[in-house]
């Protein structure tokens, strides 16, 4: 596919700058977080930079293809990702008591990450095809529900409550953004509120523990509440200016759990203090606002929804993960975008960024 020179003229340098800044902070932080961890092969930050490079290549591919072309085949792409989830169900690799990984050509891959992106595409296509100004009716929503329920059930079954709830949050944000009748919204919310306690009987014991210890971290300070207490100690002990790179005692002495993935932000906060954290939060905030600007300026419904979805993708990861390590939310395994270690997450995120650029570049380009 040939890229128009005008497209390059409209290339979104600000978006690239913001993403690369955050990713650079992420690599530096992983250098520290992984410093004292036992690892096989290369250190974590080296591995993560490989993923980042692959992600950047994927990003280039994603902005080269016109997003409208992708929208056309959105259902197919979505179906493909569901197929991968089914493969996980039958052939997936078991680690730590859950089946989340698919091994392809020696590489482990997490299809549940990819589904986040393909679901956004599928929803964008659906709403793009059926624009109803007065809001959407129950009938449409039932069809839409089908799009979310299939991956939700498959991912809950892995089991990965965090990612499946994340999908629901992403789905709901887009659906609410597009607009449904208030009456239906109320019915759905009420049904959700009634069903939520019922879920209690279906979730695993360790998940109950997490919710209980979120409600009262001191309940079992050495058990499930331990993680969140250690995280808060790490963050708070950073103070205004932090302890300095590689000087975070909570992480170096491994009081922090999962410090390279879910609790990576605590490492950063301990070593860089409020000053460093504030800069990072501002970078994220700028990225989110810039993304929303892209969405607002998009020249079609699909572009608006795809970019909005990707921004929500980043936003929920950012808000829930940091909220979790600060003790605002219960411990759910949601990685922090661009900072948590993980190949699948990084590549899918960069693909999302590619799509954002795609939409941003093509805002002035009209169909011939």
């Amino acid at each position: 596919m040939k890229i128009d020179r005008r497209l390059l003229a409209n290339f979104d340098w600000i978006l690239l700058f913001l993403v690369l800044s955050i990713a650079a902070v992420g690599l530096l932080n992983l250098y520290s977080a992984g410093h004292n961890l036992p690892h096989a092969g290369d250190p974590l930050y080296i591995k993560q930079s490989y993923w980042l490079i692959i992600g950047l290549m994927m990003m280039i591919i994603m902005f080269s293809i016109d997003y409208r072309f992708l929208v056309t085949y959105a259902y197919g792409i979505y179906g493909f990702s569901i197929l991968l989830l089914l493969l996980v169900f039958f052939l997936g690799k078991m680690t730590h008591g859950s089946q989340r990984w698919l091994v392809l050509f020696g590489f482990s891959f997490q299809p549940s990450e990819l589904v986040k992106l393909t679901m956004i595409l599928a929803l964008a296509k659906y709403f793009n095809d059926k624009q109803i100004d007065e809001g959407y009716y129950l009938r449409n929503l039932l069809i839409l529900s089908f799009i979310i329920i299939v991956p939700f059930v498959l991912i809950v079954n892995q089991p990965d409550l965090g990612t499946s709830l994340f999908l629901v949050a992403l789905f709901s944000s887009i659906v609410v953004f597009v607009g449904i009748k208030k009456r239906i919204l109320i019915i759905f919310s009420a049904a959700g509120l009634v069903l939520a306690p019922l879920c209690w009987f279906f979730i695993k014991d360790y998940q109950k523990e997490r919710i209980l210890s979120f409600l009262n971290p001191e309940r079992d300070p050495l058990g499930s509440g331990y993680h969140i207490i250690q995280s808060i100690i790490a963050i708070g002990s950073g103070g205004l200016f932090g302890k300095g790179l590689l000087k975070g005692t909570q992480s170096r002495l491994r009081f922090l759990p999962e410090q390279q993935t879910d609790f990576v932000f605590s490492v950063f906060a301990e070593e860089w203090g409020f000053a460093g954290v504030f800069v990072l939060l501002c970078l994220f905030f700028a990225l989110l606002l810039w993304g929303l600007r892209i969405s607002r300026n998009s020249r079609d419904m699909a572009g608006t929804l795809i970019s909005f979805g990707i921004i929500m993708f980043i936003f929920w990861g950012f808000f829930v993960n940091i909220g979790m390590v600060l003790g605002i939310f219960p411990v759910v395994g949601i990685p922090l975008p661009f900072l948590s270690y993980g190949g699948s997450s990084m590549i899918v995120l960069m693909m999302g960024v590619g799509l954002l650029m795609n939409i941003s570049m093509r805002r002035f380009v009209f169909q011939p």
Binding site: F255, R299, F308, G323
Partner: protein
């Protein structure tokens, strides 16, 4: 595709404008919430949480000091320290305590070593304080724990110094033993500054000098990781070891006593009459003080407590005996002092003495015939002393007894000392609400009846005779030194009083005691040496009332419990006494036949040791002829003296 295009054509982004504003507002809210919470945690509560992160990584551990050593007068170490190993668990590091302890049990089983009891739940335990699982483990268990330490998170091996009693049971009563402080002791005044896991002296020198021996605890700050493993020592305060205590005891003489004393129960003391220092002090039966080191086992404790011979009793200071005939020295001193007799006063001993309707027998059937004071002491004639006692009266005897140091504690720095009992008329009236009977004075005059003395009091009285009249407080401590050898306290001889006996009378008494050992008819013949340099007095103390009838209690027929105590006190050399030896054999029979031979062995041993010492000193001298001659001269001088 066509339809798709048409949709795009009439796309109106403006309709999302209001929604975008709401989303921007929501994202800003989220940003503010996170920023606010971070400000609260990092800036407002930052110091507090930093402290918690420090607490996380830094463990402050008390480092116990080494207890001071106890040495004898020549610097021979009597009590030393040696390492003992404990296995503990830190529950916070182990996470799952029962899983880890089970794992350790399996490892123990595999090696065939005995396992430990369940982990006791410790209330009010501070976090990260180890809980003891197994104390005083052997090398086999140590090896198991050390080689598997990686699989046993939270399991730590502590090295605890314990006391090593080099002379075991031989000096057990003097040195005492140690143990973990009890909660009752913690509440008492002198132990206020102690901590709940401190080791304190429970008996003997260990108890009485605990403040000097215990030292000052130090502290250590160590950085640990989440598994509780020490990564590095950040700093700390070194503990100060306890002071070393030098006793007046001579371990060589102590050993001589211990070896000489083959009877099953009793005591022997050796003192230097010149300054009142205790050279040896033993009590039998004894016990192994190391049993108490890490908490005595129930079985061992029951054994010690239920033994009818009371091995824990320190007979030398806490045993109270009727002095028997050894008391005749005081009676004679009183009689000479009060002028009721002269050395020439003679009394006819018919073997009996009648007072009212009661008859008091002499130990010798048929009597001694006409005896003077000297013979009365030599042959220990009871009748002679009945007369003296009657002439003197109980209160005069009591007053002399007190001046010889009876009836009050000597003040030796050992726990549990008893004061004995010196009866007077007033005492009987007040305590027993009865008036004094004359017959009781008769019993008293041969050291029977109400009179009770401790062996230490008795030997002290003989020391006063040996040294020319000075009553010393028994000295057990020479000095207390710091580890670097600085003298913290020095203990010199302490004169308490002088006995009211003139030098001439002292000479008369000494002569009597010389005869008691060296005369053909002397009761203490068994202690006679070739040099004829021992003065002594035997005693046979009746445990039950004196038999009035003519039935002679043969020791073998009488049950052990009511057999007589055998006593013997002596000093040597008679002209310039260096040592006073006391031997009491409980229920041993006659002092002359049972106690005196033991005393002789001790005196022989003492002089043999002295000779060896001189020879050793001589051989150690450099081989210069002039020096050698000089030393030879010195030895000759000493021998002459």
């Amino acid at each position: 595709m066509k339809r798709h295009r048409s949709r795009l054509a009439d796309y109106e982004p403006a309709k999302f404008r209001r929604k975008f504003n709401i989303v921007v507002w929501l994202v800003s809210c989220a940003f503010l919430i996170l920023t606010g919470k971070l400000w609260y945690l990092q800036v407002i509560k930052g110091d507090q949480l930093r402290q918690r992160s420090e607490n996380n990584r830094i463990r402050v551990q008390e480092v116990k000091p080494l207890r001071g050593l106890v040495m004898d007068r020549n610097g021979v170490i009597l009590v030393d320290n040696q390492p003992s190993f404990d296995v503990s668990i830190i529950p916070e590091d182990a996470k799952d305590v029962s899983a880890i302890t089970d794992r350790l049990r399996v490892l123990y089983d595999r090696r065939g070593v005995a396992s430990f009891k369940d982990v006791p739940p410790v209330k009010g335990r501070k976090p990260f304080v180890p809980v003891k699982l197994d104390r005083h483990i052997g090398r086999d268990k140590l090896a198991v724990v050390e080689t598997n330490s990686l699989n046993l998170p939270g399991i730590v091996v502590d090295v605890v110094p314990v006391r090593k009693y080099n002379f075991g049971a031989m000096l057990a009563h003097v040195l005492g033993y140690v143990g973990e402080i009890s909660s009752a002791e913690l509440k008492k005044g002198p132990y206020r500054s102690y901590r709940s896991d401190d080791i304190v002296g429970k008996y003997g020198i260990e108890k009485n000098l605990d403040l000097y021996l215990k030292g000052v605890s130090g502290g250590e700050q160590a950085e640990v990781n989440v598994a509780g493993r020490k990564l590095r020592i950040l700093g700390g305060v070194e503990p100060v070891p306890g002071y070393n205590v030098m006793l007046t005891v001579d371990s060589a003489i102590q050993k001589i006593c211990w070896d000489a004393f083959t009877e099953k129960a009793g005591t022997a003391i050796v003192m230097d009459p010149r300054d009142g220092s205790v050279l040896a002090m033993m009590s039998k039966p004894s016990f192994d003080p190391a049993l108490f080191n890490r908490g005595i086992s129930e079985i061992d404790w029951k054994c010690l407590i239920s033994d009818p011979l009371c091995p824990l009793q320190h007979r030398a200071v806490a045993g109270q005996y009727p002095p028997g005939s050894t008391y005749k020295l005081i009676v004679a001193a009183a009689a000479l002092g009060e002028g009721v007799v002269t050395p020439r006063t003679k009394i006819n001993c018919t073997g009996k003495y009648t007072l009212g309707d009661r008859t008091y027998r002499c130990w010798k059937k048929g009597g001694h015939g006409v005896v003077d004071l000297n013979r009365a002491l030599v042959e220990s004639c009871d009748v002679y002393f009945y007369h003296l006692g009657e002439m003197l009266g109980v209160d005069t005897l009591a007053s002399y007894s007190r001046k010889f140091g009876f009836g009050v504690k000597t003040g030796i720095p050992l726990p549990g000392e008893k004061g004995g009992l010196v009866p007077t008329k007033r005492w009987k009236k007040e305590k027993l609400k009865e008036s004094w009977q004359k017959g009781e004075t008769i019993s008293l005059s041969i050291g029977q009846g109400f009179l009770l003395v401790t062996p230490l009091q008795l030997i002290r009285a003989y020391c006063a005779l040996a040294n020319g009249g000075t009553v010393y407080r028994p000295r057990l401590l020479n000095r207390i030194e710091s580890v670097r050898g600085e003298v913290v306290r020095e203990f010199g001889p302490e004169k308490e009083s002088n006995i009211p006996v003139s030098p001439a009378n002292l000479e008369i008494l000494r002569k009597g005691l010389w005869g008691a050992v060296n005369d053909l008819h002397g009761t203490g013949k068994a202690c006679m040496r070739e040099e004829k340099d021992v003065c002594g007095k035997t005693g046979t103390a009746q445990v039950i009332g004196m038999p009035e009838e003519d039935e002679d209690p043969h020791e073998e027929k009488v049950p052990y419990k009511v057999r007589d105590h055998a006593l013997f006190v002596c000093f040597a050399p008679c002209n310039d006494p260096e040592i006073v030896v006391l031997v009491i054999v409980e229920h041993g029979g006659h002092g002359g036949s049972v106690a005196a031979p033991i005393a002789r062995k001790i005196i022989d041993g003492y002089f043999a040791g002295k000779k060896d010492e001189t020879v050793v000193r001589h051989s150690e001298e450099p081989s210069g002829t002039e020096d050698s001659q000089h030393t030879q001269q010195e030895i000759n001088d000493r021998r002459g003296a």
